[in-house]
């Protein structure tokens, strides 16, 4: 990594922001995850937690345990090192999705908007790998990059009050999965039986920033059996 364009700025008195650029690209985002993993491995005393986003890494620290200047120096040394650039074990997570009309209640609307058949939409949607740029909005919500623009579709004019957990949707050029029941305006095209967020489970969150997601189309029968197996 070169440190071109990298800015380190205080974000309050107990956090700092390391900014790698000002556009959403896989390249910049990968550098965010690289630094995140490198600092994680170093186990720097005083770092409380880190929040990766599209173009920057927020580092929360305890100023009684590590100074701003001390941490700044550690980061400057880390970003000079050759980046791992994806050599960090990137997980590929398969997300089974049932695209039946029962769950994909807006497939018809997306079909009308894009001029593609429902089958084509499903094929295109499940044909790409999606990078998890970051999580936020609600616990476990992944901001995904890499959707084929042919299936882009504007949000619904009137948002829904209750979208069930696991719903898969499209909003403009983005696709995503609702981890918990919430209101929202995304066009729903299917649903996954997997719990993306389950506080009762040892691994509370299914995905993390830097992962790649792959949607796998499944039938309703499979949806039900995965759901049952998972909640055992």
């Amino acid at each position: 990594m070169t440190n071109y364009n990298i800015k380190i700025i205080p974000s309050g008195d107990s956090a700092m922001l390391v900014r790698f650029g000002n556009e959403i690209t896989e390249k910049i985002n990968t550098r965010v995850h690289d630094l995140h993993f490198m600092l994680d491995e170093l186990k720097v005393k005083g770092i409380i937690e880190m929040v990766p986003a599209y173009t920057d890494l927020l580092i929360l620290y305890d100023p009684l345990k590590v100074s701003y200047d001390g941490l700044n120096q550690i980061i400057n040394e880390e970003i000079k090192k050759p980046g791992k650039q994806g050599t960090i074990k990137q997980r590929i997570i398969e997300i089974p999705v049932c695209y039946d009309e029962e769950f994909g209640s807006d497939l018809a609307e997306v079909s009308e908007h894009t001029g593609l058949s429902k089958d084509e939409i499903i094929r295109i949607h499940s044909n790409s790998k999606y990078l998890v740029y970051m999580l936020g909005f609600t616990p476990g919500f992944s901001y995904l990059g890499g959707m084929d623009e042919r299936i882009a579709c504007p949000r619904k004019k009137i948002p829904r009050q209750n979208i069930p957990a696991g719903s898969v949707g499209i909003a403009d050029k983005q696709t995503g999965i609702y981890p918990i029941e919430s209101p929202g305006g995304w066009q729903l095209i299917g649903r996954t039986p997997l719990n993306l967020f389950n506080p009762e489970r040892e691994e509370v969150f299914l995905c993390q920033a830097g992962d790649q997601l792959q949607f796998i189309p499944i039938e309703k029968v499979e949806f039900e059996s995965i759901k049952i197996a998972q909640n055992k």
């Binding site: 700025i9 205080p10 974000s11 309050g12 008195d13 107990s14 956090a15 922001l17 000002n22 556009e23 959403i24 995140h36 409380i48 937690e49 880190m50 929040v51 990766p52 986003a53 599209y54 173009t55 920057d56 890494l57 927020l58 929360l60 100023p63 009684l64 701003y68 970051m134 999580l135 936020g136 909005f137 609600t138 616990p139 476990g140 919500f141 901001y143 981890p179 918990i180 967020f197 506080p199 509370v204 969150f205 993390q208 920033a209």
Partner: protein
């Protein structure tokens, strides 16, 4: 042996909070925790708990609680008129309570949030290493929700403890206009040149839109150079976002982990508890200090708390 308490009424918004749920923001999980972490720690000190034990955070209008065992409690933070079996009880002092007695907490007189601590703590399971309630996702605390009428809650074992008070220099005070100290924000350069002066020289009022997520202020609008939106990025407690309308919003305990608006400033850590005691109509003036000064204040407060807990 553990004990039990029963809520005869839950109050306006009573929830279980501790010092927050750290380590999960990278998954989009807000920190939550007490809005006034300072008062929570004082309340814990008074009943012999650890600093980070959970308390009931009581908002604006208090609950009514029946005790089903002997214990010791304390109330700190906002001033609320409270009685046990009809007799007034002091704020910020240890209070012995007997089986069968009823605590009634009234409306707030000063501040916004009181903290009720119970010797031995509140026996709810930790979720992601914290007892804090995050209401929006129904996580933590008591069944992930606010306390309601009829709730029975297990409390910890209470060994006899000496009666304690808080030395007066450590107590909270509530002046009329609060001066809230800030340092410059991460998008400071995205505002017009006179924006900083406007921000520091204006008086802002806490609007009706204030809750555990954030406080929207009304007052002189702050102008952006080129729009209010940024690529979504991590935010912290006390971040002051300025959306397009120009009125600042201060991020509080339940704020989302990422935000898409420019941030002009950040409330310093030691003044966050004061923010947590603000209510609609309260006035604020901001004062700039340096990062070094802000961190010295944290150090001083920490020394005071450590000293107190070692008394």
């Amino acid at each position: 042996m553990t004990g039990q308490i029963k809520f005869i009424s839950g109050g306006m918004l009573t929830s279980i909070q501790d010092l927050g749920r750290y380590g999960y923001q990278k998954y989009g999980m807000p920190v939550s925790g007490a809005m006034d972490t300072y008062s929570l720690q004082l309340a814990n000190y008074l009943v012999g708990n650890k600093r980070d034990e959970a308390c009931f955070e009581i908002t604006y209008l208090g609950p009514e609680i029946e005790f089903h065992s002997d214990t010791t409690i304390a109330i700190s933070g906002a001033i609320m008129q409270s009685t046990i079996n009809g007799k007034p009880v002091p704020m910020s002092a240890s209070i012995p309570v007997s089986n069968g007695e009823i605590l009634v907490m009234g409306a707030v007189k000063k501040g916004m949030r009181a903290y009720l601590s119970i010797a031995g703590g509140i026996m709810v399971p930790e979720v992601m290493e914290s007892k804090s309630t995050y209401l929006r996702a129904k996580v933590g605390g008591f069944q992930g929700r606010k306390i309601e009428t009829g709730d029975l809650i297990e409390i910890g074992k209470c060994s006899p403890i000496p009666i304690k008070e808080i030395p007066s220099p450590l107590l909270f005070i509530y002046p009329g206009i609060q001066t809230i100290r800030v340092i410059k924000g991460t998008e400071f350069d995205r505002f017009e040149t006179d924006a900083w002066n406007t921000f520091l020289n204006s008086e802002y009022t806490v609007s009706n839109q204030n809750d555990r997520m954030g406080y929207r202020l009304s007052g002189t609008a702050i102008k952006h150079k080129n729009g209010a939106d940024i690529i979504s990025s991590g935010i912290v407690n006390g971040s002051i976002q300025v959306p397009g309308h120009g009125e600042p919003i201060i991020m509080m305990a339940d704020h989302q982990t990422v935000g898409g608006y420019t941030k002009i400033a950040n409330v310093v850590s030691v003044d966050l508890p004061i923010m947590g005691q603000m209510k609609a109509g309260d006035k604020i003036k901001f004062k700039e200090i340096t990062l070094v000064e802000a961190q010295d204040l944290i150090k001083k407060q920490e020394e005071n708390l450590v000293k107190l807990f070692n008394l």
